[in-house]
């Protein structure tokens, strides 16, 4: 059964891709989509009662398709692609942090940044995300992961 945060992450991600990128999911993972190689990633960090990050990885041409759809251009520049992916990550993160519970001081969401491959490998050592979702599109695939530093449930138990 999906946790509340997983549901929020899914809803925020679907709405963001539909309303912001004008992109709609295709229902099933085919073999090609499963084996797509990583092309880009962006991370947004947040701070409040909890700290952590949201990571979005794209595969199979989605990196370019997001910017092309948003900007209505055929060949977006590398900077435009990075900005577009960062904006998507920023919007999703802004929606998901509210599900962590009301923070007295609110949550500060930092500017998105692109990640290099070595940083992604480091990210993989950070541990398990609190919630994650895979979205499949005709243009490729997005894997979106939401992390809470130190673990959400551990902190909840401490109270």
């Amino acid at each position: 059964m999906k946790s509340k945060i997983e549901k929020v992450l899914e809803e925020a991600s679907v709405n963001t891709f539909e309303d912001t990128c004008f992109m709609y999911q295709v229902p099933e993972l085919n073999d090609v989509q499963k084996n797509l190689t990583l092309e880009a990633a962006a991370e947004v960090k947040y701070r409040g009662d909890y700290t952590g990050s949201l990571l979005i990885e794209t595969r199979g041409g989605l990196f370019s398709a997001i910017a092309a759809n948003i900007l209505s251009i055929d060949s977006p520049s590398c900077l435009q692609k990075k900005d577009a992916l960062g904006e998507v990550a920023n919007i999703i993160c802004g929606n998901v942090v509210t599900s962590l519970g009301r923070s007295k001081q609110g949550y500060k969401i930092e500017s998105p940044r692109s990640l290099k491959k070595d940083e992604l490998l480091k990210e993989k050592r950070q541990g398990k995300p609190l919630a994650e979702i895979t979205m499949n599109f005709n243009e490729g695939r997005a894997d979106i992961k939401f992390f809470v530093d130190g673990g959400f449930f551990a902190k909840e138990k401490k109270g």
């Binding site: 920023n90 919007i91 929606n95 001081q105 609110g106």
Partner: protein, 130 residues
């Protein structure tokens, strides 16, 4: 009446998204002006005839809160309809936006949502363009 609109956001991608969504509302649009921070937004307000401003909260140089404060203090455009478009989740920030007489729209948003808000705060009718 066609609305002249000012879009203030430090992200050029986000400005493009907002303008694209504005066009999807099918409302009568006039000139659309863009600024990357509150300071540049205020300058455009002094130079151009603007009927509505869509403003982000978090921006360098001058943020959205400060820009709206300047707008409300200026006799020339103190009653300007303002929509704050943000992924902000802090309830106190959102409350501050309302206190400043602006309407808050959370990202992501649909053209229908934007259209409803614009009609409500500007009184523009969904008449045929031109």
């Amino acid at each position: 009446m066609a609305l002249n609109i000012l879009v203030v956001d430090d992200s050029s991608v986000m400005r493009t998204i907002i303008i694209k969504t504005l066009k999807l509302t099918d409302l009568p649009l006039g000139d659309i002006w863009e600024a990357e921070n509150g300071e540049k937004g205020l300058r455009l307000l002094q130079e151009k005839w603007i009927d509505l401003a869509l403003i982000d909260i978090h921006m360098p140089v001058m943020d959205g809160e400060e820009m709206i404060r300047h707008v409300r203090e200026n006799d020339q455009y103190e009653n300007l309809p303002v929509i704050v478009v943000s992924s902000e989740s802090d309830p106190s920030k959102i409350e501050m936006v309302h206190k400043q007489g602006a309407t808050f729209i959370h990202k992501p948003f649909k053209p229908e949502t934007l259209k409803e808000v614009i009609i409500a705060i500007t009184g523009v009718s969904n008449e045929v363009k031109d």
